[in-house]
Symmetry: C2
Subunit: 306 residues, 2 copies
């Protein structure tokens, strides 16, 4: 009998929906992996009391220091700090091979900021921690979207589109996914309409040509006109897309596959997956949060280990 894979679960912002989802999905997840939840016994007891649910007996913990009063739906520095420490614990447990992979529940960016955490999110922290250019990819079996820029204000996106960064990103993405048919989006309306509506597509086209030449085959296709890239016809051709910015890729993904999508960090020394939703403060501790994305994230982590 092959031992189940061990998965560290960081519990996310305890004022949000993460711990509720972890408790709700535990039985289902327990059937195909051994989860280790990064939280202290006392914080878990506080959350479960607020939820009026029992803590399962085999709910194994990796202890995280710290203590504060959980307040559903509230952005706070103390909750932000605890969510960071839970994540850090999970990263360390994975790095030291105490567990095999890491699944993260959602943190709140402003809570991290209030706690003085200098990262915009999990992927940003992992990139810094491992000194690797982690790639953020979201999606599900039907469609995966890799983000060339992630949590970048829209006004700063265009200046981040440079030849050298594109070539490095394309190479890393191909190496990490082994994908051989990838759609690359343009940046501007109509992919610039031959330069009339912006000219970053020239640089994207050059980077595509360079990497295709290195691969000796046309792995990358584009730059595609963004607004028609996700029509049913194009979705028949492509499963992997590289979007130039956050909403360019995540609007179509969430429009089509909102509940089932997950987040995968590629190009890192560890396997890390995540849910594709936020802390959902508006519905926290109300027993209505959906666990589909979390179940898919844990399943994907186990699959990626194979």
């Amino acid at each position: 009998m092959i031992a189940k894979k061990k998965v560290a679960v960081s519990v996310g912002d305890l004022n949000g929906v993460g711990i509720e989802i972890a408790l709700k999905a535990h039985e289902a997840i327990r059937s195909f992996c051994d989860p280790y939840y990064c939280i202290s016994s006392s914080m878990l007891q506080q959350a479960s009391a607020l939820l009026h649910v029992d803590i399962p007996k085999d709910f194994n913990l990796l202890h995280v220091n710290g203590s504060f009063t959980v307040t559903p739906g509230v952005i706070s520095a103390s909750s932000g700090l605890y969510s960071y420490l839970s994540f850090l614990k999970a990263v360390q447990a994975t790095q030291t091979q105490r567990v095999d992979a890491l699944v993260t529940l959602p943190v709140h960016k402003e809570a991290w900021m209030r706690a003085g955490i200098p990262y915009k999110g999990h992927t940003d922290m992992l990139r810094n921690y491992f000194h690797h250019d982690a790639i953020m990819m979201l999606g599900c079996e039907k469609m995966y979207i890799a983000l060339f820029t992630e949590h970048t204000p829209l006004k700063e996106v265009a200046s981040a589109v440079t030849y050298d960064r594109l070539v490095a990103f394309f190479r890393d993405f191909i190496a990490a996914t082994k994908a051989d048919n990838i759609a690359v989006l343009g940046l501007n309306p109509h992919a610039g309409d031959n330069g009339v509506l912006g000219d970053e597509e020239k640089c994207i086209a050059q980077a595509i040509a360079r990497v295709n030449s290195d691969c000796s085959t046309d792995v990358l296709h584009g730059p595609l006109v963004p607004d028609t890239a996700f029509t049913p016809q194009n979705r028949e051709h492509f499963t992997y897309y590289i979007a130039m910015y956050h909403d360019q890729g995540l609007i179509p993904l969430k429009t089509l596959y909102f509940d089932e999508s997950i987040n995968v960090s590629l190009n890192l020394p560890i396997v890390r997956t995540s849910v594709d939703h936020g802390t959902a403060f508006d519905i926290a501790y109300r027993h209505i949060a959906k666990e589909a994305s979390y179940l898919n994230a844990v399943a994907a982590a186990v699959t990626l280990l194979k």
Copy 2:
């Protein structure tokens, strides 16, 4: 018996799919309006010969001067100029009430540029011609998207988002559509996450509050987080969306409703609708262009006249 409405049809770039669609859909359109095609007899004969189709006997023309050799799929100044003159003829015929409304077939932006036409597209020209802030809205019965910025390079979008322009746009849009439940998108990832990922949402929120206050009711909702604005749940709440930029609104629209969408110019003294696709040079004169969007555009023009 009520006389049918007269509709001027500008034929678009003759090196593209426009004239093919017009000929193919003529019988269907003839049943509910009187179309007048803005093209010369000789240019029409050239196109129909290339298509190997007969010109219907009741294919009424509004003559447009000029002559060139049609070359399917080629961007050219002469074809760009002719498409502009066809459009201008249709605008003038509508303005002088020789016809009741205007439907446009697609032009090619680069061909216009090569011909020295100083507009980025039809809507841009209409704005200048009528000295009105025309609003570009695309969609179908299930979802309409108004574009706050249109054919703007991505790097210039953020600086166009100003309080005064937003307030004027919101007022014009509400007046033109009489809509009472409108979703307004944020600009940045996560709608800025309370300023962490960009701060234009403050200005959008202020403009929304101002216009809602003038309306004495919450007609406008937002700024919504862009990547979740088009989930099935949100689409149940909203039919009208205001997008801050082209691809933010047109990616989800074309992902969901590619073939059936049309383009409507709001806030003008004339009624003008258009197909929601481009010149499709790659399939021009190959008898595979679809006419659904054109049929919907003509039907919408007739409906808007009522």
